[in-house]
């Protein structure tokens, strides 16, 4: 049995999306900038995709700039705003649980003369609007906060922060890569100026994303050398990818209610099932409405995350972890640490992110296998000895 539970890393491309894209590789392959018929049909499809993306976030098509993905959109938003507003001020605010594409871009600016305030989060992984309010200075030019966290699924109070930024005339950027297509988004209701979205998290192709840029908001481009995307992003458009992204947005909009219902049910079954079947487990992140419908994140004490992943992988189950081994550094997940988890508990974290195609039978299989894996690893763990000895003493 092969069970994919890592949809926040990436999703399969919807067959309808893939089929549509193929046409634009092999038949309608024109350059959208060309004046001839080949170019015009590509251009028309490109603009339709722009409308489809705009529709899903409550924007107008002109406000959508296509990029090579979420990371580029985050970079364009942050660097482009800093460049545009550097004479107005040098202060930027972000949160400590942002994706590295935001955090490291902000840190890059900090090294280059900007001031950075990083807002903490509570133990559920949610930041406080009051803290943001307190951090605002007369020279604050940009606030960047993610809509939903990629590791623990915590949904941030974006609309409330949006009211603040509007009041103070500060540009507001939101990374909505994880929330797009999963929960409703409306850039006007949220008072967002810039929003990052990505295709491959919503059953579209990899290598495509977009930055929503509110009408009237200036972002200095990073790529020069062409008039594409209203001079905001030079370079021949990835037409098939963008068209696939558009279609994926349309499908996500149509399926959101069903997806949410299906995934919430599986999420709660999995989260409760793990807590019932395995001792010494901690659920990371908020419960209920404040959590993405597809995210499960637990810390399994006395075992290490990569060992769990390898053991699951042997059984065909794909998940991810916030342990140091999987983060590529010596420290475990910055998100879990920011939520107050001690290192050893963060090292034992497991993330399961659900998708459209997951079934109850798959969750049953996982719930049957995981306790055995944990038991095996705990019997090997010197940390668990202390627990057993304590139990025996009682």
């Amino acid at each position: 049995m092969r069970v994919y539970l890592d949809h926040s890393a990436t999703t399969p491309v919807d067959p309808e999306v893939a089929a549509l894209m193929m046409t634009y590789y092999t038949e309608k392959y024109g350059n959208p900038s060309s004046v001839h018929g080949f170019g015009r049909e590509a251009k028309q499809a490109l603009e339709q995709a722009r409308s489809q993306v705009a529709e899903l976030i409550g924007a107008t098509p002109k406000e959508v700039t296509f990029t090579s993905g979420g990371t580029e959109a985050d970079n364009l938003a942050i660097l482009g705003t800093a460049e545009a507003l550097r004479k107005k001020g040098k202060h930027i605010i972000t949160s400590c649980i942002e994706h590295h594409a935001v955090l490291e871009t902000c840190e890059y600016l900090e090294k280059n003369g900007f001031d950075l305030t990083v807002i903490p989060v509570n133990e559920e992984g949610i930041l406080s609007v009051d803290e943001v309010k307190k951090a605002i200075r007369p020279d604050t030019i940009l606030i960047s906060v993610m809509h939903a966290n990629n590791e623990v699924g915590s949904i941030q109070p974006i609309a409330e922060i949006g009211r603040l930024t509007k009041e103070h005339g500060i540009t507001f950027h939101v990374d909505a890569v994880q929330s797009l297509g999963k929960i409703p988004i409306n850039v006007d209701e949220m008072n967002v100026d810039l929003m990052t979205v990505s295709s491959h998290k919503i059953y579209g192709p990899k290598g495509v994303g977009a930055l929503y840029i509110r009408k009237g908001v200036r972002v200095v481009p990073m790529a020069h050398g062409g008039g594409q995307e209203k001079r905001r992003r030079a370079g021949t458009e990835n037409t098939p990818g963008i068209i696939g992204f558009g279609k994926a947005c349309e499908l996500a909009g149509q399926r959101m209610a069903d997806d949410t219902k299906h995934q919430t049910k599986l999420r709660d079954k999995l989260m409760n099932g793990i807590s019932e079947r395995i001792e010494y487990v901690k659920v990371n992140g908020p419960l209920g409405e404040k959590r993405l419908p597809n995210n499960v994140n637990v810390s399994i004490r006395y075992v290490e995350g990569e060992s769990l992943l390898l053991s699951l992988d042997m059984l065909g189950i794909a998940a991810s972890s916030g342990s140091a081994c999987t983060s590529g550094s010596l420290d475990p997940s910055h998100v879990l640490l920011a939520m107050g988890l001690v290192h050893e508990i963060a090292h034992g974290s497991l993330r399961f992110t659900l998708g459209r195609q997951n079934t109850e039978a798959e969750i049953d299989y996982l719930l049957e296998q995981l306790p055995k894996i944990v038991e095996r690893l705990r019997m090997m763990s010197p940390l668990y000895d202390q627990v057993i000895h304590k139990q025996q003493a009682q």
């Binding site: 075992v303 060992s307 390898l310 140091a324 081994c325 010596l330 940390l383």
Partner: protein, 125 residues
Amino acid sequence: MYTEKVMDHFNNPRNVGEMENPDGVGEVGNAKCGDIMRIYLDIEGDIIKDVKFKTFGCGAAVATSSMVTEMVKGKTIDEAMVISNAAVAEALGGLPETKMHCSNLAADALHKAIGNYRDKQQTKE
């Protein structure tokens, strides 16, 4: 990312367990880093008769622990003292570069256990 040999030792680790009244115990690493290895030795004369380990850590941590126990069983303590972390990694067909520092500590745990045994011998004398 791991060799077949690493995965074999991870899935079927040799000599897992504890030992009652071991002649030497050595522990390295800490939970904060995500790796702890503890090695128990049963020594007769200067021959390692039996060895057990317990490890909290990633695949490489478990596999190197298992491998080092296989490498030292029946060896003299002097022979065991010259086994290096690099030799353990080599016996496993290599480890990913990122694992060479953080999770390749099994020989250190072994040497610590031998040190513990020698300390005990000295106190006896």
